[in-house]
């Protein structure tokens, strides 16, 4: 999935994005207009878990405008987002960035794919996790 040589890839730019199925799904699930984004970077600069992401939220919005779904759906970013809503509360254009990220996560989960398995959690095996963590993780990673 991640290129071990870390080469830069070519951006996929889809034409007629309005008629693209994934684009429509993103709009339907998130109810957000990704074309409002003007790439100011405020979402990334406030993001508490940016260091763990492979693409920044700002880049994600750009990829969204281009229609490069493959890169987004393969990214770690969509599962690293902790929905703290810092990006959504600061976005100067009022885009709920976290909802857009959630939409991609939903698309993956609804297709039955997930890269994380809650039951494999090292802490869960130790029986320490509080229900609040488990339920949240199930909802975010298994879509239940």
């Amino acid at each position: 999935m991640t290129d071990p040589l870390k080469r830069q890839q070519t951006l996929r730019i889809r034409s007629n994005i309005e008629s693209d199925d994934i684009y429509k799904a993103i709009v339907k699930i998130s109810q957000q207009d990704v074309f409002r984004c003007y790439q100011c970077g405020d979402c990334s600069s406030g993001c508490p878990v940016l260091e763990f992401m492979d693409i920044t939220p700002t880049a994600l919005m750009k990829l969204c405008q281009a229609g490069d779904w493959e890169t987004i759906l393969d990214s770690r970013t969509i599962f690293i987002c902790a929905s703290c809503l810092q990006c959504s509360s600061r976005c100067p254009k009022g885009i709920d960035v976290a909802a857009v990220v959630e939409a991609f996560r939903e698309i993956k989960l609804r297709a039955g794919e997930t890269i994380r398995r809650v039951q494999d959690s090292p802490l869960n095996r130790a029986g320490k996790l509080p229900p609040i963590a488990l339920v949240s993780a199930f909802r975010k990673y298994a879509g239940v």
Partner: protein, 298 residues
């Protein structure tokens, strides 16, 4: 004053100290928190998928329980429950068609849901209904000299329209409460920053890194303990210190309290024995050092 109260899952097992201390402290203030009948899971996180109503039903059913008891307010202790219930309520209210669909689906419920329940956090109730001034008068054992970091996390202040403080970028409700019980709240860099939340399940290193940063920033300004109102934050900030120590050699631990424990402490001068084991970092030395426990050893 009697008001309906929603405990939520974690207060009934990992965070019993949170619930017990809150109920006991409120009793001292003549506030009776009446547990909601037949409550169940609120869903913990509010799903932002706008096209899937199913994910909000958990929260809605709880709100129907409130309406059933002819009440229009519901108090929560847990920040996450507060956020999820309040947002689910607003989500439904904002669209009559959505409301109709939900009621249609839940036709077996004895009552239709109209979206008129006000979800409040206990801190809001104390501020708006009870008043921190009045709380201050009730304090018998003020927590003088205790330097605390009020950790809001995310769910009390975001999204901005559901923030418990209108000033969501620099709220002060938590600090005002700590002030009224005699403690000294200190402003620290990470007080509004996420703890990593549910990342702790699959990516504990994320939360460890957050815990490291949050606790260090609090230490840097001189905090002697952190205070929180969310059992998930408490888990990540307190229990996860064990893992954090393994990852960061220079990490120094810091006790973490639920705000209700401190309320109980200032009203009674006591900290119940059974709450200590619920803490990973033992708060006892700190409380003793500050002379805050007035326990009579029998």
């Amino acid at each position: 004053m009697e008001i309906l109260y929603y405990p939520g899952c974690t207060l009934k097992n990992n965070a019993t100290n949170f619930e017990e201390s809150a109920l006991a402290a409120m009793k001292h203030l003549d506030i009776h928190l009446k547990e909601l009948d037949r409550w169940y899971c609120c869903g913990t996180v509010f799903s932002m998928a706008q096209d899937n109503l199913m994910l909000k039903f958990g929260a809605i059913r709880n709100l129907i329980r409130v309406a059933e008891q002819e009440q229009d307010r519901l108090v929560t202790l847990c920040s996450m429950c507060y956020n999820t219930l309040r947002r689910a309520n607003a989500f439904m209210r904002s669209d009559p068609e959505r409301l109709r669909k939900v009621n249609d689906f839940m036709y077996l419920e004895p009552q239709t849901y109209d979206g008129n329940v006000r979800v409040m956090h206990l801190m809001e109730l104390l501020d708006q209904d009870y008043g921190f001034e009045r709380l201050k008068e009730k304090v018998v054992f003020p927590l003088n000299g205790l330097k605390l970091g009020a950790y809001y996390g995310c769910m009390l202040v975001r999204p901005q329209e559901f923030s418990i403080d209108a000033n969501y970028e620099s709220p002060d409700i938590f600090e005002r409460m700590l002030n009224s019980i005699g403690a000294e709240p200190l402003d620290f860099l990470y007080r509004l920053e996420c703890c990593g939340a549910y990342q702790t399940v699959t990516d504990p290193e994320v939360t460890c890194q957050r815990t490291y940063a949050i606790i260090n920033s609090a230490r840097r300004v001189g905090c002697e303990a952190l205070v929180t109102s969310c059992p998930l934050c408490a888990y990540n900030l307190d229990q996860m210190q064990e893992e954090t120590e393994k990852l960061f050699a220079d990490f120094e631990s810091l006790p973490v309290f639920y705000f209700s424990e401190l309320l109980y402490l200032c009203l009674t001068g006591r900290f119940k024995q059974e709450w200590y084991p619920k803490h990973h970092v033992d708060p006892k030395p700190l409380l003793q050092e500050k002379n805050l426990i007035n326990e009579v050893v029998v």
